[in-house]
Amino acid sequence: MHASGVHTSPSARIDRRRVARGLLLAVPLAFLGVFFVYPVASIIGRGLTPGGTLDLSPLGAVVTDPHLRDVAWFTIWQATVSTALTVLVALPGAYVFARYEFRGERLVRAAVLVPFVLPTVVVGSAFLALLGEGGPLGFLGLDQSLAAILLAHVFFNYAVVVLIVGGLWSHLDPRQEDAARVLGAGRWQTFRAVTMPSLRPAIAAAAAIVFLFTFTSFGVILILGGPGYSTLETEIYRQTVQFLDLPQAAALSIVQLAAVVAVLLVAGRAQGRRAQALRLRASAETSRRARTAGERTMVGVNLALMAVLLGGPIAVLVQRSFDTAGGYGFGFYRALSELRRTSTVFVPPIEAVRNSVVFASIATVIALVIGGLAAFAVVGPGRRAEPARGLDTLLLLPLGVSAVTIGFGFLIALDRPPFDLRGSPALIPIAHALVAAPFVARVMIPVLRSIDERLREAAAVLGAPPGRVWREIDLPIVARAMLVAAGFAFAISLGEFGATIFIARPDYPTLPVVIFRLLGQPGPLNFGAAMAASVILMAVTAAAIFAIERFRFADIGEF
C-alpha cells in the first residue's frame, strides 16, 4: 500500500477508497454471516438432510401442494395490500410532521412509535375490545377478518412510513415546490412532478420494511385473523415449534426466502438505480405553523386520524389498567410489585424496566454500528463502484425470514466456542440488533444517497482526506437520520421482536416477558397488572423516543 502523504496520486486515492470500503463492508458482513446466514443455513440444511443425505422432495411437495400454494399467495397478497394501505394512510402524516409545526409535535412524534413496541397479544385484546361483538365497533363485523389483519398492520407500521419518509421530507427544500406553484402547477401536479421523485427512495425504503414486517407477521395473523388464515410464517411456526417437521419447515423457509429476495429485487429496480442529488435544508427551515384554513384542516385531519387509529387501542389499554374492581385506581400498578412476590418468576417492575432499557441500549448500539457501516458501504466513499449493493439486500433479509427459523438456527449453530451463545444473555441484544440493523441502514441510505456528490468531490479536491470528507459532509447530514434510526432500534428491542420469544433464553425478565407471564395466569389481578405493565412499557418507549428527539433537535440546528 502506498504511504499516505500530502501528495497522494489519484491511483493511491482510489486504492485507499477500496480499502476503506472493504473495511466498512467487513464488519456488517461478518455479523450477518455469523448471526444470520450460518444459523439459517444450518437449520435449513438439517431439514434437507434428514438421513444424512440430501433430500429435496419436501421442496417439491411444498411447491406442488395446492393448499401451500394458496398460503404462499395469501402471504404475498396480504403483505402487498397492507403495505400499500400503510403508505397511503401514513404519507399525509409524514407530510404534516415534515412541513408544519404544531403544539405538542415532539410528543406526538414520540407517541406514534408506541404501537411498535406493544406485544401483539396485548394489542389483540385491545382491538377485540373495540371490534368484538360487544365492542363499540362490533357492528362492523370485523372480528377475525381480513380487514382486522390489515387494520392491525397499519396500526403497527404507521410509524415506519411517517418517520422514514418524514425524515427525508423535512429536509427537502420547499422553495422547489413554491417555484412549481408559481409557474402554475397545481398542488397534485407539484406533488407528482417535484416532491414525489425526491421522496421516492425514502418511500421505497419504508415500503420495503413494512412489506417484510407484514410478510412475516405472526401474532396479528393468528390473533386477529383467527384460525382461518395462515401465512408462510404461521406454517413455519407450526411445522417447527409444534410438529418439529424440519424437512417441511426447511422447504417452507426456502420458499419464504425466495419470495423475499424476488420482492426485494423488484423493489430495488422500481426504486431506480440511484436517487438524485437533492438540496437538503435544515428541517427547522422547512416547517412552519399552518396558516390557511386548508393547511389547518390538513394538520387537524391527520392528527384526528392518528388519535383514532393509534390512540383508540392505546386508550383501551390505559383505561383497563386503572379499571379495578373497586373503581378507578392504581390497584393494578401496586399489584405489579406484589403479585407472586415470593416466587422465582417475580421481578420488581423497576428491574424489568431496567432490564428492558439495558438490552435496548446495547441492541441500539450494535444496530447503529452494523447498519451505519452497511449504509456507508453501500453509498459511501467512491460510490460509483457498486459491489456493496448486494449488502443492502442481504441486510434486509433477516426481516423477511421467520423468527422461528433464525431462533432454532441459533440453537443448533451457535452451540460451541467461540460462539457458544445458547443460554447467554448476549443472545438477546444480538437477535434484536439483527432486526434493527436493516432499519438503521434503510433510514440512512436515502439520506446519504441524496447528498450531492459534488460536495464530497469539492472537499476532496480541496485536500480533505476521505475520513474528513465523511466527517464534514456526510455525518452532519446523516446525523438526524441516525437518531431516527436509533429510535427505531431502541423501540424494536423494547418490544422484544425477533427470534428471542421462541427460544430458550436466560431469565432476565424484560417488560414484555413480565406481560406475557401475567397474561399466562388466570384471575383479574393478573390481567389488570398485565395492562399496567403494558402502559409502563408505552411510557418508557415514549420517554426514550422523546429523549432521542431532543438530541436530534440540538444537532440539526447546526447544519
Partner: protein
C-alpha cells in the same frame, strides 16, 4: 457535530457501565454463597416455584439451579430434541402426556427410579423404564361463567354432548389445537369420548353450533371469556379445573365464591413429567433435583405457583384448592403412544373439519 460525537461516546460509556453492572434479575432469585455444582433446569415458560423452596434445595444439597424457560411446552420439548447431541440443560421439567412418546422415542432422558416414586400413584407412572417421573397433573375442562347462566336462567351444560344443543349455540370459545396445549387437550378429550371415527362428526356439530376458535389460552380466557377479567362475549371456555380458585386468589378484593366453575365431565387429564437429560455432566446433582421435585416440600408449593395438582399422594392442598378446585372423577385420557402416532394427523383433520 462535536455534540454528536460526545453523545455517542456518552451513550457507549453508559451502556458499558450498565451492562457491566448487569441485569441481575436471575441471580437475585438464586441463593448466593453456594460453592457446589450449578445445574440447568430446562422447562416451559409457565414454570414457577417459591424462592424459599429453591433456596432450601440449595441449602440441603449445595446444588444451585439455573432456570431456562424455553417457550411453551411444545416448543420447549422440541428444542430439547433439536439440541439433544449437545443438551441445553441437565433436568427437564414439563413434558406432558401429549408429548411424552415423542420425547422418549428421541431418547431425551436417562432412566432413573427416584425413591420418592413410592409415594406417587402407579396410574401416573406411564414410563415403565422410569426415564421420566410424573410430577403434577392438571385437568383441562370447560369453564363456565356463573353470572351469565344465572342471569339467563339457563342451566350450564354438563357433558360434551350438551354443547351441541341449540340453547348453547354461540356460547363456546376454544383454543386452536395446532397452536395451544389446552386446545390440543380438549381435542383429545373429544377423541377419547367419541372414538377415532366419531370425533369429527362431533366437531361438525360444534361448528354448526357456532363454536369460536382462537389462537391461544391467553386470548380465549382473558379476552373472549365473559367470566374473567376481559369480560368478553363467550360464557363457556376451554381452561383448567384449577382456574376457578385462581379467580379467587388473584382478585382484590377476593370474592367469597369464584365467578366461574369447571365442568368436570368434560376434562382431559394432563400429566407433567420431569426427567434427567441424557448427556448431562451432573447426573448426581440432576437426580437430586428430581428427588426434590417429587418430595413433599416442592409438591406442596406447586398448586398456587403453577395451578396444578401435586402428583404425590397425600400432599396437603392450599385452602383455595380444597374449597374451589375440583378434581374430575373420571377424566378422559389416551395412551401417550396413541397420541404420538396420531397427533399431527388429528390436528390436520380437525383444521379441515372446523376452520376451512
Amino acid at each position: 457535530m462535536r455534540r454528536l460525537l460526545v453523545l455517542t461516546l456518552a451513550v457507549s460509556i453508559l451502556v458499558t457501565a450498565v451492562a457491566a453492572a448487569g441485569p441481575v434479575a436471575a441471580t437475585a432469585s438464586a441463593p448466593t454463597g453456594s460453592s457446589g455444582t450449578t445445574i440447568t433446569l430446562m422447562t416451559h415458560d409457565s414454570f414457577n416455584v417459591s424462592k424459599s423452596v429453591m433456596r432450601q434445595f440449595t441449602k440441603e444439597t449445595g446444588v444451585k439451579v439455573d432456570v431456562l424457560p424455553s417457550g411453551d411446552a411444545g416448543a420447549a420439548v422440541n428444542q430439547a430434541i433439536l439440541t439433544k447431541s449437545n443438551p441445553l440443560g441437565d433436568v427437564f421439567f414439563g413434558v406432558d402426556n401429549t408429548l411424552l412418546s415423542r420425547a422418549l422415542d428421541e431418547g431425551l432422558f436417562i432412566p432413573y427410579r427416584s425413591p420418592e416414586l413410592d409415594h406417587i400413584s402407579k396410574d401416573l407412572q406411564l414410563d415403565p423404564r422410569n426415564r421420566v417421573s410424573p410430577v403434577d397433573t392438571g385437568d383441562v375442562c370447560l369453564n363456565f361463567d356463573r353470572k351469565y347462566f344465572a342471569k339467563k336462567k339457563l342451566s350450564a351444560p354438563k357433558t360434551l354432548d350438551d354443547l351441541t344443543k341449540p340453547q348453547y349455540k354461540g356460547l363456546l370459545v376454544v383454543e386452536n389445537p395446532a397452536t395451544s396445549s389446552p386446545g390440543l387437550a380438549f381435542l383429545l378429550a373429544t377423541v377419547a369420548k367419541f372414538g377415532p371415527d366419531g370425533w369429527r362428526a362431533y366437531w361438525e356439530k360444534l361448528r354448526n353450533n357456532d363454536v369460536k376458535v382462537v389462537d391461544g389460552w391467553e386470548q380465549a380466557y382473558n379476552t373472549e371469556f365473559s367470566g374473567s377479567a376481559g369480560k368478553g362475549d363467550y360464557p363457556l371456555v376451554v381452561s383448567y379445573a384449577s382456574s376457578p380458585p385462581a379467580e379467587v386468589v388473584n382478585a382484590h378484593p377476593a370474592p367469597s365464591q369464584p365467578p366461574t366453575g369447571a365442568l368436570l365431565d368434560t376434562c382431559f387429564r394432563q400429566i407433567e413429567f420431569v426427567g434427567v437429560m441424557k448427556g448431562t455432566a451432573h447426573e448426581k446433582a440432576a437426580k437430586k433435583l428430581v428427588d426434590f421435585m417429587l418430595s413433599d416440600r416442592f409438591q406442596r408449593d406447586m398448586p398456587l405457583q403453577m395451578y396444578v395438582f401435586p402428583a404425590r399422594d397425600g400432599t396437603k392442598l392450599p385452602t383455595a384448592f380444597v374449597k374451589f378446585a375440583k378434581v374430575a372423577p373420571s377424566p378422559f385420557t389416551l395412551p401417550p403412544d396413541e397420541i404420538a402416532r396420531n397427533r399431527d394427523q388429528w390436528i390436520d383433520e380437525w383444521t379441515n373439519t372446523v376452520v376451512r
